[in-house]
Amino acid sequence: MLFSMNEIHETIRMIEAEHLDIRTVTLGVSLLDAPHGSVDALCKFLYERLYGRAHRLVECAAQVEDRYGIPIVNKRISLTPMSLVCEGLKTTDEYVAVARVLDQVAQDVGVDYIAGFSALVHKGATTGDLRFMRSIPKALAATKRVCSSVNLGSTRSGINMDSVLVMAETIKELAEITPHGAGCARLVVFCNAAEDNPFIAGAFHGVGEPDAVINVGVSGPGVVLAALRRMKREGKFSDLAQVAETIKKMAFKITRAGELVGREVAGMLGDPVSFGIVDLSLAPTPAIGDSISDIIEEMGVEATGAPGTTAALAMLVDAVKKGGTMASTSVGGLSGAFIPVSEDAGMVAAALRGSICLEKLEAMTAVCSVGLDMVAVPGDTPVETIAGIIADELAIGMVNNKTTAVRILPVPDSKPGDVIDLGGLLGQLVIMPVSQYSCAGFVRLTGRIPPPITSVKN
């Protein structure tokens, strides 16, 4: 037989019992040729372009799903940053109208999210960018599927603190006009945003990308967890090199499955859609056993957040990257391990029992992607404190030459320890305590944090 029984059984076990799935197949669409000026012309163009490119996405993904028996959980679209496309628009209402068209086309082609209501302001914001950022709360509140991201800093340009403050205000405003602040789950701010990231909410189709690409985000915390548990059962769980080796092998297999699916879907969609990248990120879900936190605890840390957590996570992420880059030459996006608190049942448990706090999460993001993700704080947290949290996280990304992000939900009328169920993949929010000391004096300074010395490379 061409394949051994073991190989066949392993694959089936990974898919059926250990939650191996393709987390997202994201179609990136370029809108650089959109007409400027008239909002009506722009809306018409957007609908036609996006419907034309994406109407077969869900169908093709379903065919690949059927063929390989591997579930593709989400089908999504990412766009050229809309602030570029919408630079000519003047009023918030016009931006909202554009967002509504995106929402409509997402619904019509059957994708759950459409991302790229984004701006790139890492060095400075244009007048259009500022109007755009101010329109985000209303645009997201008026839609269900539109996701937004703003790149506020980069290793090359530093951190645009003026825009950090604007975005902190935007986040607060959005939290207040959507139930439980849930709209903030669709808004993320970045340092060193990846142009080919397939994951929501931070996906956008970078200006250096071709007409249309398929980017794939794989999953697989459950598979890694099960492999570690098997090692324990077989009495092999003692040497770190062996643990890293096991994780590497799993990451290899997961990545290969991801690349196969991406290439097939891109091939089916046909010209001009090409295959882009596989994002190696281990992305947890609220399903039991599909958790990064559980892996850390399986590695011998009693509760995620305890000392040792960052080291264990660093090793996990590194092994995933090594296995993944062996498996595919098209690795891109964020490629690390996500620690979205609400979307990971183990993280929710850790937050409830108080073993994890914002500060420890921030430390963990120095060694994994992608940042403070899906963290909830009390709604009365001052704007300046949110800006400070954002600036801290972005500074980690800026200095370490990596992508970091903040997706924070200041939930109105909540206090630390409260639990809010957002349902679905978004999971359960546990409100975390925030430092009571202010950073207002610092974040209200104007201008830009200069780029670090690591930016001078040439």
């Binding site: 037989m1 392993e10 694959t11 063929r67 390989y68 028996g69 690349e259 196969l260």
Partner: protein, 230 residues
């Protein structure tokens, strides 16, 4: 389409403690075990019993393929200095001709171009069958798990045949009342019947429902290839 041979077939088809196995048959592991338990000798013949002349032909054909591979490899490596190493290093043995895909494909291509025209139709078909199975990239892995009962292999393979699939291999384990079977099915015939992979999968799953207490998974081989082979 190969025929899956089960215990029952051996029981009815055996003659004086001997069962003739042709190229067109695929024995289930259960059938093999049954034969050894009952002391039935499995005699392998190269072709269907009635076609007595075939074994000779088949040997001759293997030799022919080998010759063509050697010629073809020599010709190509002469034509291009940068010929891939495996081809130029391929030894002129039957093993190389039967196990390595690239020479096989070349052999097939060479057959189509020149030699085949001089062979009669039956020979040509046999050569292609010999050279095709391992070079195809279009197979499904069908996994069946469930409560054991007679006739499952027959029913599953009947559905496969109906759809135009061709059983390439079977592996089977029976533990107490439960069985686990893996079929490798060549899907080239599906296209001729204008059937999609999805329909093929649905028909098998419907059959599993009719059989009851049986779970069936159908996956294209590429997922296994990409995950386990480099």
């Amino acid at each position: 389409m190969k025929k899956a041979v089960t215990e029952k077939d051996i029981e009815t088809g055996q003659k004086d403690g001997m069962f003739l196995v042709s190229r067109e048959m695929l024995l289930t592991p259960g059938a093999r075990e049954f034969a050894s338990r009952k002391g039935i000798t499995l005699k392998y013949v190269a072709e269907e019993p009635p076609k007595a002349a075939a074994p000779l032909k088949s040997e001759a054909l293997e030799k022919l393929i080998e010759d063509i591979v050697v010629q073809e490899v020599a010709r190509r490596s002469a034509a291009s200095a940068g010929a891939p190493a495996p081809s130029s290093a391929a030894p002129a043995t039957t093993a190389a001709a039967s196990e390595q895909a690239p020479p096989r494909i070349k052999a097939e291509a060479a057959m189509d171009q020149s030699v085949c025209s001089s062979l009669d139709a039956q020979c040509r078909e046999t050569i292609l069958n010999l050279s095709r199975p391992d070079s195809t990239g279009n197979r499904a892995i069908v996994t069946v798990v469930g409560h054991n009962r007679p006739g499952i292999v027959a029913r599953i393979s009947a559905v496969v045949a109906e759809c135009g699939g061709d059983l390439a291999d079977i592996s089977q384990v029976i533990l107490a009342d439960y069985f686990s079977m893996i079929f490798i099915v060549n899907l080239d015939g599906l296209e001729r019947n204008n059937l999609s992979f999805r329909i093929f999968k649905e028909r098998l799953q419907d059959e599993a429902l009719r059989i009851g207490q049986t779970q069936i998974l159908v996956m294209h081989e590429n997922i296994f290839k990409s995950m386990h082979k480099v």
